[in-house]
Symmetry: C2
């Protein structure tokens, strides 16, 4: 239940990395892009086919190195229904290759709409008497602003189907402070959100002690991570390290518990963009992604021992 | 600029209603549903075709009564890429019929991902040298938890393309209080969000004085609406009235300014579901929706005079 499946995969690969996938126009190697625009013109169809090819190639390159991928839904949505069709294929392929799939959709809604989002990403949609799988990810990112009403429908699918979700808590961007760092009583607003997440998840802890509802935590300052790790002792963290583009910060270790569990680091797109950073033409994008993923894994192995 | 287009349409139809569309499994009349499952079986394809037919029919029925529709994206997403394809068609058809289209997606993201969401819903996606329209709504609902970084990309499309957006502020659900009613200094957290919205929108006010960034406000208690209307004097409100299922509350008038502007009421799905509430078999769903929309319009006309 809950984050057990993910923790098991992290342990098996000795690597707590979630590779961020989801490609903007400049992220796709030109040779792939041109191949599809030559066929379909400069259309959403061409862009969706190019994104599909690129992501399947990345999954092939990464499947034995990283335990999980986090797919930025926005980039697929920007290609319309053809992009969403590509996303369905990408998720299915990644799961076939044994990867844990986090849909980074940051979804939030109430009542029937929340249940519909949950059906789309974690559950199944009922059509008459038939249950139809839709995007079928393993995990989804959520917004918690509307309170438990907006979380419960997802939590139901999590517990019934062995899925999990991360709720935005403290994000890594500069303007996070405008709202998340407001003080309420003896806490900042993001800590209040963290406390709610842990309360909402009550009763869903798995064998490692982590509940089905995790928290998105951005930044690696010890002043942020240390108290949050202590306070939210049943909450799995998805940590984005803004410094990860050029090697991981040693401070990410504060996100993990004393057994090296309870957290995973997202790579700030360094794996996806490794080919362009290397300055090549992108024909070697698979090797470049693989190399970046191995480097991040090895750095994390030096910092964290996972039991 | 900003909410001028919407306010003009509200004035022209003397009706500040946004009809909520987006259908769950039980919302679609059985005769439509069966027609498509007979052809495609109990599949997402059948469900998407049924949803498409139902919504085009509703738009035909409502186009001369309401100025705007608010489409719950979740219900389309629950049908996978075929649902998103249907949604593209629904939006295009509604715009063709002169309706103002609010995509109720509650999207939120940072950096390139936020820009991608904005391209999807308000702007265009660049494919090589070509700009491709995607869902092309007039307005999108957003979450503001991550601060201005998550709002700016949308605001850019709003100002350049005459679009607008609503940010979640005080939602109508019972659990809104868990987080939104926390006290920070001399304000509640939702008021702090409202203040941010008005600050972020600075410099985008149109001829009616409302900025391109509005606020989703749920509930009609005067204790909520009166101070919020006074404080957020440049912020257009999208008000959901939980009581609207059985007629609108007179208190909604507090959401409007002294000229009857600056707010619109969403109907809590009473129009979409009018046929099932009437107890019929749904073959008259268009008449039922039309009747419910006219009734809500007439009630609002008695409460608010729009200048």
């Amino acid at each position: 239940m809950s984050f057990d499946v993910l923790q098991d995969q992290i342990k098996a690969k000795k690597n707590p990395t979630a590779a961020i996938l989801g490609a903007g126009p400049d992220d796709i190697p030109p040779h792939i892009f041109k191949q599809h625009t030559a066929r379909y013109g400069e259309t959403l169809e061409a862009a969706a086919e190019a994104a599909l090819e690129f992501h399947l190639g990345l999954i092939d390159a990464l499947a034995d190195i990283v335990p999980a991928i986090a797919l930025s839904c926005a980039y697929f949505e920007a290609l319309g229904w053809r992009g969403m069709r590509a996303l369905e294929t990408v998720i299915a392929y990644a799961k076939e290759k044994g990867l844990f799939v986090i849909a980074d959709g940051k979804r939030a809604d109430l009542g029937g709409s929340a249940a519909a989002y949950s059906a789309a990403w974690l559950g199944e949609t009922a059509v008459g008497g038939s249950a139809c799988p839709v995007f079928s990810a393993d995990c989804l990112t959520l917004g918690g602003y509307m309170g438990s009403d907006a979380i419960k429908p997802f939590l139901k699918d999590c517990t019934e189907r062995d899925k999990c979700a991360f709720v935005l808590t403290r994000t890594p961007n500069p303007s996070a402070r405008e709202f998340q760092d407001l003080v309420s009583g003896d806490r900042q607003v993001y800590t209040a959100m963290g406390d709610l997440i842990q309360r909402w998840g009550r009763g869903t802890a798995g064998k490692y002690g982590y509940q089905a509802l995790g928290a998105v935590v951005g930044g690696t300052q010890p002043s942020l991570l240390k108290p949050l790790r202590r306070r939210l002792d049943k909450t799995f963290f998805l940590v984005s390290d803004p410094a990860a583009r050029g090697g991981v910060s040693a401070d990410v270790r504060w996100a993990f518990d004393e057994l090296g569990r309870g957290a995973m680091i997202s790579d700030s797109r360094s794996i996806l963009r490794a080919w362009s950073k290397a300055g090549g033409d992108g024909t070697n994008y698979q090797d470049a992604a693989r190399g970046a993923a191995e480097q991040l894994r090895d750095e994390l192995r030096r910092l964290i021992t996972i039991f």
